[in-house]
Amino acid sequence: MQKIIDRVVAGSRITGEEFLRLYEEADLYQLGFMADAIRKRKHPEPVVTYVIDRNINYTDICISACKFCAFFKAPEDPQGSMLTREELLDKIRETRELGGTQILLQGGLHPDEPLEFYEDMLRFMKETGIHVHGFSPPEICHFAEISGLTTLEVLKRLMAAGLDSMPGGGAEILNDRVRDMLAPRKCSADRWIGVMEESHSLGMRTTATMMFGHVETIEERLEHLQRLRDLQDRTGGFTAFIPWPFQPDNTALAAAVEIEKTSGFSYLRMLALSRIFLDNFDNIQASWVTQGPKIAQVSLFFGANDFGSTMIEENVVAAAGVHFRLSEQEIKRLVADAGFEPRQRLMDYTPAK
């Protein structure tokens, strides 16, 4: 164990086997000290970044029906809705007024809107000049299916229409056994990685996520991280990794199988393990949306160097019964109280001002 610790601190990459060994045997402090040493090496300045943005979900209508999701409405559900352009514009204006620099744009997988609809939406949004961090690989695959184009062509068209970067949503766990159980209609692990690789090849930066703490094994978490690390070796296109635990309330999955909510302790361990394994990722985000401000602040000592977004609006996690809210001022206070300088950033982690 001490050998692994020494090597990690010296900057070496760990193998999958070593990852599993750390998962089984390392205590909270060993993981924390290693993750913190890596964070300090990658970010020698005591700075913790955050972004001001809002999540805009253009629709909650979705054909995917993932079992872990409490947000979507099936196409036949009369409660499903689409945002109007006025609503979209109001939300962007409000974001701007609060110092926001970007919109995280995501929807459900709407059954019948054509690709042109999304291109129009992007052009409309881009008239305001705001950065659009939008869609996710499952949406790109869905648009490809609807339009009969390849995902690469879809990406090119969306980028031409104004898409600036892509969030890493829909990754869940990149293993098809897990995906078949949770989200059989969502794109496969290979397709997710493929879309990300194409995005990076077109020069678009993206993030990567992992939703853990449901039906996956630790080996499957490792497979997820391994695939991300391999892709990052090939492209370097990921800006950040954001792991968060599954939030079970109001989901079909929790109704079908008994799933214990991931505890704060296990979250911190997984965060640190991710920081240790993903040696080619510059940034790791804390998830205050799922963990609350206290654990999120403590996670700055378990590998996280970014506090994520102020999320002026967030709907998906809230639908699963979790309602933490943090203002920019509160994020700055938490970061400063932990001994770091808070700094507003853009999607690519350059300073906002």
Partner: protein
């Protein structure tokens, strides 16, 4: 691991901790000021494991707040109300009995009862309250009345604190909770709770209780206007008292909840400060057997993490907690047995259900 502690500038304190040497107030100041919470936690964890091994305690208890009517009206409190206030209430002896009766089917081993400093309830009310609980639930341990209330009861009875305690014991009092300590500093008390029994008085009642065979707890209300020095003086006073009497069971740092108080301009405590208060206390209070992470105040997630930062106790399956929740506490009203046990196990600790005096009732 030692190299991480040395890098954090705490190598000499690590050596002292390993040698079981008492830490100075200056050490305590360095620990509070150390920006590396992992290093501070690591040190606290050494003491925690030395004293309590891998055990993490909890208790099955019931809280009863007999009245919120209070003449002290401390500025940090959202619970106390003036008599006649629309939210003021007081339970009759029958109400108290009913509360106890309502949960007779649960395996409750402790009733935790505190209230305000009531202007006109007679001394007999308090004796009757204890007797009533014992009548309905004879085997239960009653932990009741903070030192502030005890002094008030002695004043009501016109007797010494010692004689008053004997009468209360006779009526069923088993031990005394740690509330009312706030911060001993006269500066803080003058600003926040000038009408309350002062720090010296609190310690005097505590020592009397210890001499009369009653175990007690100790608390510190942190996260408002107190300085690090004031926190440390408070801890030092507790440490010296414990040297003298050995009567403290547990130390419980209490996170200030500003909402609905007269100090609502303050922010809530942060996770790092919560962990630091637990860890530094574990290191300074070398003669206290237990340090509690009170999940009602800091939330179950952080309380679980605190089991690695010096805490060995998560309190209990509290129901009907009023005092923190009136001040905007957002944690669940009750954590089931099952959830507590799961949280403890997930944190790699051994869940132990205890009674008030830390006798092991069951391990899981």
């Amino acid at each position: 691991m030692d190299s991480f502690i040395e890098q954090a500038g705490l190598g000499d304190i690590l050596a002292k901790v390993r040698a079981e040497e008492r830490l100075s107030l200056e050490d305590g100041k360095r620990l509070f000021e150390c920006p590396n919470i992992l290093a501070v936690g690591f040190l606290a964890n050494i003491v925690r494991e030395r004293k309590n091994g891998n055990k993490a305690y909890f208790i099955y208890n019931q809280h009863i707040n007999y009245s919120n009517v209070c003449t002290n009206l401390c500025k940090f409190c959202a619970f106390g109300k003036e008599k006649g206030h629309e939210q003021a209430y007081e339970m009759t002896i029958e109400d108290i009995k009913e509360k106890v009766r309502a949960r007779l089917d649960e395996p409750i081993t402790e009733i935790h009862m505190v209230g305000g400093i009531h202007p006109d309830l007679p001394f007999s009310y308090y004796l009757d309250a204890l007797r009533a609980i014992k009548e309905v639930r004879p085997d239960v341990h009653i932990q009741a009345f903070t030192c502030v209330e005890i002094q008030h009861l002695a004043d009501l009875a016109g007797k010494s604190v010692g004689d008053t305690l004997e009468e209360l014991k006779e009526a069923g009092l088993g031990s005394i909770p740690g509330g009312g300590a706030e911060v001993f500093s006269p500066r803080i008390r003058e600003i926040t709770c000038e009408r309350k029994l002062d720090g010296e008085g609190w310690l005097r009642v505590t020592k009397t209780a210890h001499r009369h065979g009653l175990k007690t707890n100790a608390t510190l209300l942190y996260g408002h206007i107190e300085t690090i020095e004031e926190r440390l003086e408070h801890l030092d006073a507790l440490r010296r008292t414990q040297d003298e009497t050995g009567g403290f069971l547990a130390y419980i740092p209490l996170a200030f909840h500003p909402k609905n108080t007269q100090m609502s301009e303050h922010s809530r405590t942060t996770g790092v400060d919560d962990l630091k208060n637990i860890a530094v206390a574990r290191l300074m209070l070398d003669n206290f057997p237990h340090v509690k992470a009170y999940w009602v105040m800091i939330g179950p997630k952080l309380a679980q993490v605190a089991l690695s930062f010096g805490a060995d106790d998560m309190d209990g399956t509290v129901k009907e907690e009023i005092i923190t929740h009136m001040a905007g506490g957002e944690s669940e009203q009750a954590l089931g047995h099952k959830t507590l046990i799961k949280l403890i196990k997930e944190a790699g600790r051994e869940p132990v259900e205890r009674d008030t005096l830390y006798k092991v009732l069951e391990t899981f």
